[in-house]
Symmetry: C2
Subunit: 255 residues, 2 copies
Amino acid sequence: MSHTVTAALVVIGDEILSGRTKDVNIGAVADFCTDLGIALSEVRVVSDVEGEIVDAINAVRARYTYVFTTGGIGPTHDDITADAVAKAFGVPLTINPEARAMLEARWRQTGTEVNAARLRMARIPEGATLIANSVSAAPGFRIGNVHVMAGVPVIMRAMLEAVAPTLEGGRKVKSITIRCRVGEGSIGTALGAIQAEFPDVKMGSYPQMGQTHVMTELVLRCADEDRLAVAAERVKSMVGEAHRQAGLSDTVEAY
Amino acid sequence: MSHTVTAALVVIGDEILSGRTKDVNIGAVADFCTDLGIALSEVRVVSDVEGEIVDAINAVRARYTYVFTTGGIGPTHDDITADAVAKAFGVPLTINPEARAMLEARWRQTGTEVNAARLRMARIPEGATLIANSVSAAPGFRIGNVHVMAGVPVIMRAMLEAVAPTLEGGRKVKSITIRCRVGEGSIGTALGAIQAEFPDVKMGSYPQMGQTHVMTELVLRCADEDRLAVAAERVKSMVGEAHRQAGLSDTVEAY
């Protein structure tokens, strides 16, 4: 096994748990990690309660290479992520001069008044470094292995781009998708046998619903390209046989 | 405080963590809980690794009134949710005659062969009761306070409907949304003061991005309708004042 770089995501916000806002950041962070060869291993969604945020961050930061958080860094009283992260790390939360300067520069441009609520966004745990926000100036921050980002999706994605060059990626995991024209019940036993033979190749089975034809996509993932190719050939020939048994042509599409 | 009914959701599946599938079940379960007056308090997304599923289920089932899980109950080797739940509860996982009969009735209709992979879907932890699946027959199950459901969204929603009558709902939480035509930085301090005065009324602030006009929605939630109305009047008059200060009409839309 090569060195595996792992990550966890903590999504912070009552609006996700109430259903008022439908999260799209989990999928974006998942795609981002996959692209960088980082194994996103766990996600937690927690409410705007300081103790819950502290506990979630402390649980995952001890366990994974990187932690990302989204949400709770705006100017209102329910934005308490910076407070919780400072508490999790046992450091003071103070107005960061660099963050304040970034915000004031933006506010001067837009003629926005400096007030206590807005200055909340310059409060950064001591020892953290800032994460640039090209969208709305208010920065995120990194402390230890924890990256604190905005919840607004466009800002969150901009912050991910800012963070990317600082992350150590794992080996890029390669994948092959095999399209199977029979249901997964027809191939489950045989696929299980091949999976047992190739424990280092992750094999997922995804039935496609709501289509006119039965379709199951089998996705094989492995860091070792040669090994992946061997496993994929085995699965393709198994699926070809399943097609024949179902009276279909034995062609198997893969990509 | 009235009795609060709480819930956690455990989303099971590598496909969510890799980004291959974008989850929509979190939002659906969140809406479902809110409608029933149940406070969805935590969500965890975990990978298809038995120990991870066991640990997540045991952590949340001790803590919340109800637990829902989605994913991992299909016919392939990577569907290990039933195994993990049986292990979490320390009970055997056996072929359930009622589940088998449901599946076989469907398979007779569709001319589907009974095989080992398909029979995996009849494996139910001992002591569990079944959750009907009107879409594709393969049932979910409930054991203790844990409700195990499919990951395919249309099936998951059908299972929620089947489960709903068995759940004890909390008091229905009422909400009032107040539309504010200034940014949240302009009202954050005043809103924080009103929140401090009304700790029993949950006040959330949601900036609307990507619109031509600045807009902040303030959502107030409380089980007590009278108390909610008093708090909402306070917030509306504060927002009216913020509008006046910004040179806007003091009209405040609320619903």
